[in-house]
Amino acid sequence: MVELAMGIMLGLCGVGAGIALIAGIGPGIGEGQAVAAACEAIGRQPEAKSDVTSTMIMGCAIAETTGLYGLIIGILLIFVAPGIFSGVLKETVLALK
C-alpha cells in the first residue's frame, strides 16, 4: 500500500512538473508579438534602433520571468518535492502503526 502511494505521489510530481513547464508557451507568444512590433517601429524610426533594442531586451527578459517561474516550480517538483512528500508519507505510516 505504501509503495502504491509512493508511486502515485512520484507520478503526480512528474505530471505537475510537466504542467508547470506549459507556462513557457505564453511568454514565447507574447515576446514574438512584442519583438515583431518593435521591428516595425524601428522600420518607421531607424534612428531609435539602439533605444528600442535596449527596451526590447529588458521587455523580453521580464516576459520570460513567467516561464522561468514555471521552470523553477518544475525543477523543485522533480528534485525536492518527492523527498519531502515521501518523508511525510513515512511519518504518517509510522504514526498509524
Binding site: 507568444i29 539602439s50 528600442v52 520570460e64
Partner: protein, 141 residues
Amino acid sequence: MKKLDPTVKKETAYAALWVLALSLLMEAVFLLLRRWSPAVLGGNAVGAAVAIGNYLLIGITVARAVGSPADRVAMRVRASMTGRLLGSAAICALAVGLLHTNVYATVIPLLFPRIGIAFRPMIDRKRGRTAEDPEGSDLLD
C-alpha cells in the same frame, strides 16, 4: 562569427553585474544559515552562468530580429524562447541530478537579471537619465 551589438554587450554586462552581486549576497545568506557547502557554490555558478547566457541569447535574438520581416521575427523569437527555456531546464536538471549541486542555489540565480531590471529605473533616475534620454545602462561607461 558576427560581432555582438554594443547595446547587447552593455545590457548583458549590466545583468552580469547584478547576477554577480546577488550571487555573493546569496552565498552570504547560505553562510549565515550555516547551510553553505561546495554544492551551493557549484549550484550558484551553474545558475549564474545559465542566467547570464540566457540574457545574452535574448539580446542576440532581439538584435538579429531587427530588420527582418515581422511575421518571421515572431516565429523566430518564439522558437528561441522555447529553446532557451528547455536548455535552461536541461542544464539545471543535469547539474542537480549529475553534479549534485544544491537545488535552491541552482534555480534562484535564474531570477537575478529580473531583479536587476526592477531596479533599473531607480538607478537611471539617480544618474539623471529620463524617458526622453534612455541610452541604456551607463554603469559601465
